[in-house]
Amino acid sequence: MAADQKSPVAPLLEVIDLKTHFPIRTGVFSRVSGHVYAVDGVSINLREGETLGLVGESGSGKSTLGKSIMRLVEPTSGEIKISGVAITGLNKRDMFVHRRQVQMVFQDPYSSLNPRIPVGKVVAEALHIHGIASGVAADEMVRELFRRVGLRAAQTRNYANEFSGGQRQRVGIARALALNPKLIIADEPVSALDVSVQAQVINLFMDLQQELGLSYLFIAHDLAVVAQVCHRIAVMYLGKIIEVANRDELFKAPQHPYTQALLASIPIPNPEIKPAADRVLQGDIPSPSDPPKGCRFHTRCPLAETRCRTEEPPFKEGSPGHWVACHLH
């Protein structure tokens, strides 16, 4: 659906019509009274060595999509293929092997490290259970990983509370790299950091991509960050991808009114230029348990027409590699 590349090799990651719905249980008997449509029919793909940015407001389902791809959250339907192999139906043992290929970096550097265990020990444990190395060899590999992410080898023995936010995020990256994955899902990896530290961590991500040929699914809500690291950008709104394009294309010629509004919301460092008032979004994102009919964005769209309220727009390729779901395009 969202395929924009014609390369003969299977993409590293291929997500086809993925849905992840969470039941809402109420009452004494935990009756299912509704669903949260966190991810509702998402199709994306990602080539080797590429960074795909995933942007959207809080509550748009970005993190759930990331966790679904890792199968940390069980998808409701749809298919996920890693290097052409469907992982949605894999049992526990096969999934264990597959875990080596995809790893995750978390948003909150404070809750992502166990306060009671030396940071290097968790990484060594991962190496051990996957049969990569154990004992002294594993310790040496952990030290090497720490050096690679810009920490000192001796810091493998420290506890999480002895690190700063940026260092913690580096530890999180070292942990993700331990199994030598091809794809890293970075769930807002820099949004909790100071701006100066953000730049360092982003540079680390980019250096690692150069050295190791990693692919990233880079989840963020800060468009400035996304602009720096991503090759392509997918915009998500209420559980659906509404626009995908190359970075430059998306920033130059955004098609979807929501994307236009997002770009208009980037602060311009010049007080003379006022943001276009009609492009600034009003209101909040609707509840994902009761998404609007038709185009999901019509409740906030400045350009909404009658058919937007009733008819769901198809996701189509406007220009090569630029997909958008809007009746106006």
Binding site: R99, S111, N114, I117, P118, E125, R152, R157, L179
Partner: protein, 299 residues
């Protein structure tokens, strides 16, 4: 503190062991005078319990009807009871009984309760529902009534008293650990363990439970005093430790009828019980404050 933050130590050094962390934590615990007092009394009681046979001047069951109800003297520091037994020796042996029951009960309750609570909280679903309903049934019965009922069914012996007292501790530990596990398991570092492909057993015991240590330790120290008091109550009511084995509760009960003219028979075991309760409650409070994350202490 300085060696905690320095990280340029030689590679050969192993991971900082949890023992050295615990020792560090313990040193900081003893800074407060109140903690020093409670710890000193606890240590003294432990010492007395362990070395009672060597400290006690008389065997606890040695009767001497000719000098019954003797007031405290240099020979009998706490006087003698109606059968002429040395109250001091019996109080010392009573410490042994109380601490034995306290420690064994709390340890049994802790092992089973932590296991049940961890499984219940971690796996959730219907297992959790069933376990928690059972726990609530036990919690709805007053502790002493439950213990009395169980002992009267099983008969008043040491194992049955420990069993009767343990069951409630199991439910108490299970509840606390479950709550703690519920909050820890949703942390990102646990999600990361799943992402790395660790199995549930490894995650629960290696990564979740170490983070539930503080509430477990606090509950254990609070319950220790609690159990000793309940045991004394049972013994006082005649459903606990039976004569001639010394127990503070039994001694207080037996001395009851001589209270007006030989108060020492009840007074000294009562005083020891009082002291023990104060010490364990202070200890529990101290440990709780010490381990409160807002106090900035680890472990």
């Amino acid at each position: 503190m300085s060696d905690l933050t320095r990280s340029d130590r030689p590679f050969e050094e192993k991971y900082k062991s949890s023992w050295s962390l615990a020792a560090e934590s313990f040193r900081r615990f003893l800074i407060l005078p109140l903690n020093q007092i409670s710890f000193a009394i606890t240590a003294l009681l432990l010492f007395v319990a362990l070395f009672a046979p060597w400290i006690a001047p008389f065997p606890f069951e040695q009767v001497n009807p000719s000098n019954g109800l003797d007031p405290p003297s240099w020979q009998h520091l706490m006087g003698t009871d109606q059968a002429g037994r040395d109250v001091f020796s019996r109080v010392l042996y009573g410490t042994q009984t109380s601490l034995l029951i306290g420690v064994v009960t709390v340890v049994c309750g802790m092992i089973l309760g932590v296991f049940i609570g961890a499984v219940s909280g971690y796996f959730g679903g219907w297992v959790d529902e069933i376990v928690m309903r059972v726990v609530e049934v036990f919690m709805s019965v007053p502790g002493i009534i439950l213990a009395l009922a169980l002992v009267s069914v099983l008969g008043p012996s040491l194992p049955s008293i420990i069993l009767a007292l343990s069951i409630r501790r199991i439910t108490q530990f299970a509840r606390v650990v479950r709550g703690s596990v519920l909050s820890v398991k949703s942390q990102d570092y646990i999600t990361a363990c799943h992402a790395l492909g660790m199995n549930n057993l490894r995650i629960v015991f290696g990564h979740v439970l170490p983070n539930c240590l503080s509430p477990i330790i606090v509950l254990a120290s609070v319950l220790l005093g609690n159990v000793i008091l309940t045991e004394s109550t049972l013994s006082f009511l005649g459903m606990g430790i039976q004569e001639p084995t010394p127990s503070w509760g039994t001694m207080i009960a037996k001395g009851n009828e001589f209270l007006t003219f030989a108060p020492w028979i009840s007074l000294f075991p009562g005083g020891f019980l009082f002291l023990t309760m104060i010490a364990f409650n202070l200890l529990g409070d101290g440990v709780r404050d010490h381990l409160d994350p807002r106090g900035g202490s680890v472990l």
